[in-house]
Symmetry: C2
Subunit: 385 residues, 2 copies
């Protein structure tokens, strides 16, 4: 097991009716800016619940955060925060609203010239932030229990992230009932997103960490069981609750304690989303099967364990088991209605070279060995055309 | 799934060499009282590591905490804290030193007359505490990542607890190498303790919480694998690391999120330890098999799941599977050298009535249904004579 530090101070308030607890979670004298997306919270009753809960201290509002929150939009929120002196940001929605709120909270107190410098730049990661709270309505990104945020810049077609101990939400309210009215596409995306967050921390190389392995397998097995149920029975409370808790556990740092991590699928996926506008989860569903196939020898031991424990593939030739486990993964994504090929999203074949070149230029070290080269990335994406 | 709140702000610093990080974990201007036990930390080098790390701010010392920390001893520490103005308590040792430090930290700022009133009394649970940090040398109690403390009162032969959000350690340093020299008895006790912490939150009634179930099973399976290895290879780093992380995960609140909990085995065990002086884990190893046998019909669904997933008992008659799973549990404890019968510890048969009467008098509601009666307790313990 590798050395690690684990510190996750987010207070999770989970269950039906929990939005009513807002008044005792937000500081009594806070000047609140509520940040949300395209208005689904007004249709599904969440907005009304929040406003009712905060009737003694009504929040100001900043709506219109995009599904991949844009830097340009966030800057407008930063201006309002500075001009009007808000001191608490309440994100209401999915990971996009929350990531935007985290970015705005950090950018509002950023000392440098351009807050974009905080992104994918470990030297300038947020060193301070206004406090942020969250009412989550879309289980997927895990942002509700971590210090990360992903923001996209329209101007340069970049999708970059930061991860800071100052950016953990003070609290996250998770009421599974708020997810009853999610479109199937978002439910399915959430399952894929949580699944790939887990594989990024699990399908690497053995590190003699059997508890973390089993904690990761626990999430994968539960997603495989509950994901299809959520599409079939969108108002099944326990199914929604289980998916919501899986998504949180997939990216709150726990399963990554003391083990190598990959994240190359995410790096490739972010470029696909930034350049071609596909959903985050769609990009992961496209890349992961290629990543696992191309890296199958180096990931062999963990892929065999995954084949056995997650897909119950215990017999026969080892190579066949590995291949079958990857196929089952891809089939699972497709069964949820999430396409797994570039062609499913009409992305042209020249995307392969474009994405690989962009990542090469960023100079980031990719994969659990930190050594994926442009030619590897080309091979991975070529498998996905 | 039941509604829940989860909030665990403990910073875990895990791995070899991590004691050297003490100076950046303890506040720079803290006046530190170091609390420890019977001196094993002086023999295994941990004391020297702590003193070396804190050479710029040497701690004062309070040693001699007993394996079941005594109220009477803690009060002496409280006197010193108040007289000399310590403002940070550093526990170095196992759960006993840490629980004593938590009690002393809360008692030192307690506003009532008698700090014993904080114990097993939800109305008077600590509302404040001095900050506590921890260097853990014995994986077992999970106290390093929770707000609980168990203290025994010699005068009245009582062993009671509190659990307060103010009593989480600020940090816990977990270096598996500090456990290399543990006596086998303590290593085995730690495995049993973590195992029963897990079953208290898992072997109850189904709550449609498959992730939490699997997270619990992850701990049980890992303890079963790694426990015997630790006895055979006490200096195997990864084995020690895995046990240490299992013990922490077994009682940091995570596996108990949104599920019913039992804790009747602990309630009975505490009485056995208070009255007859057996180790905490020994008391659990005695009680658990009786609890599961006597409650097997009510716990049937979870026992069948436990039989299948933890002991791979999938075929044949259901009653036989349940019986066999309980037998395998008891055999596992015995294989580690931990006795599972009252007679293994020369506890007289009249203990059955004595313990049941004491618990009845406390008026606590026991078990996941909160309805165990004196006659049930008598039956459970009678199975253990």
């Amino acid at each position: 097991m590798l050395n690690f530090t684990y510190h996750n101070p987010v207070k999770i308030v989970f269950g039906h009716g929990s939005i009513a607890q807002l008044p005792r979670l937000v500081p009594a004298d806070a000047k609140i800016l509520m940040i949300y997306g395209g208005g689904s919270i007004k249709r599904n009753g969440v907005y009304d619940q929040v406003i009712a809960a905060l009737k003694r201290n009504p929040p100001a509002e900043f709506g219109g955060i995009e599904p991949n929150p844009r830097y340009e939009t966030c800057l407008k929120a930063v201006e309002r925060v500075r001009a009007e002196g808000f001191d608490f940001l309440l994100a209401v929605g999915g990971g996009s609203s929350l990531d935007a709120a985290k970015f705005v909270a950090a950018a509002s107190v950023y000392k440098g010239n351009d807050p974009w410098d905080m992104m994918s730049n470990w030297a300038r990661v947020p060193a301070d932030s206004l406090p942020v709270g969250c009412v989550l309505t879309l289980p997927a990104t895990g942002s509700e229990m971590n210090g990360g945020a992903v923001v996209s810049r329209e101007e340069t077609k970049e999708k970059l992230f930061f991860n800071s101990p100052h950016s953990f939400p003070r609290f996250s309210i998770l009421d599974p009932e708020t997810t009853y009215t999610l479109p199937s596409r978002q439910t399915a995306n959430g399952v894929v997103d949580a699944f790939v967050h887990t594989t990024e921390q699990y399908l690497t190389i053995p590190a003699d960490a059997p508890l973390q392995d089993r904690q990761a397998e626990a999430i994968l097995l539960t997603l495989i069981e509950e994901g299809p149920k959520a599409l079939a029975e969108p108002q099944n409370y326990d199914v929604r609750a289980n998916l919501m808790w899986c998504a949180t556990q997939a990216l709150n740092g726990l399963i990554g304690c003391g083990v190598p991590q990959d994240w190359a699928t995410h790096a490739l996926g972010h470029e696909l989303t930034a350049l071609y506008g596909i959903d985050h989860a769609q990009s992961l569903a496209v890349v992961l099967p290629g990543m696992l196939r191309q890296q199958r020898e180096r990931k062999r031991a963990k892929l065999l364990q995954y084949a056995e424990r997650v897909w119950q593939l215990c017999d026969g030739d080892e190579d066949a088991r590995v291949a079958q486990a990857i196929e089952r993964t891809e089939e699972f994504f497709r069964s949820l209605g999430v396409g797994t090929r570039l062609s499913d999203y009409d992305i042209p074949g020249d995307a392969v070279g474009t994405v690989a070149s962009r990542l090469e230029k960023r100079g980031v070290k990719l994969g659990e060995h930190g050594d994926l080269e442009k030619k590897d990335l080309v091979k991975i994406l070529t498998l996905r055309v």
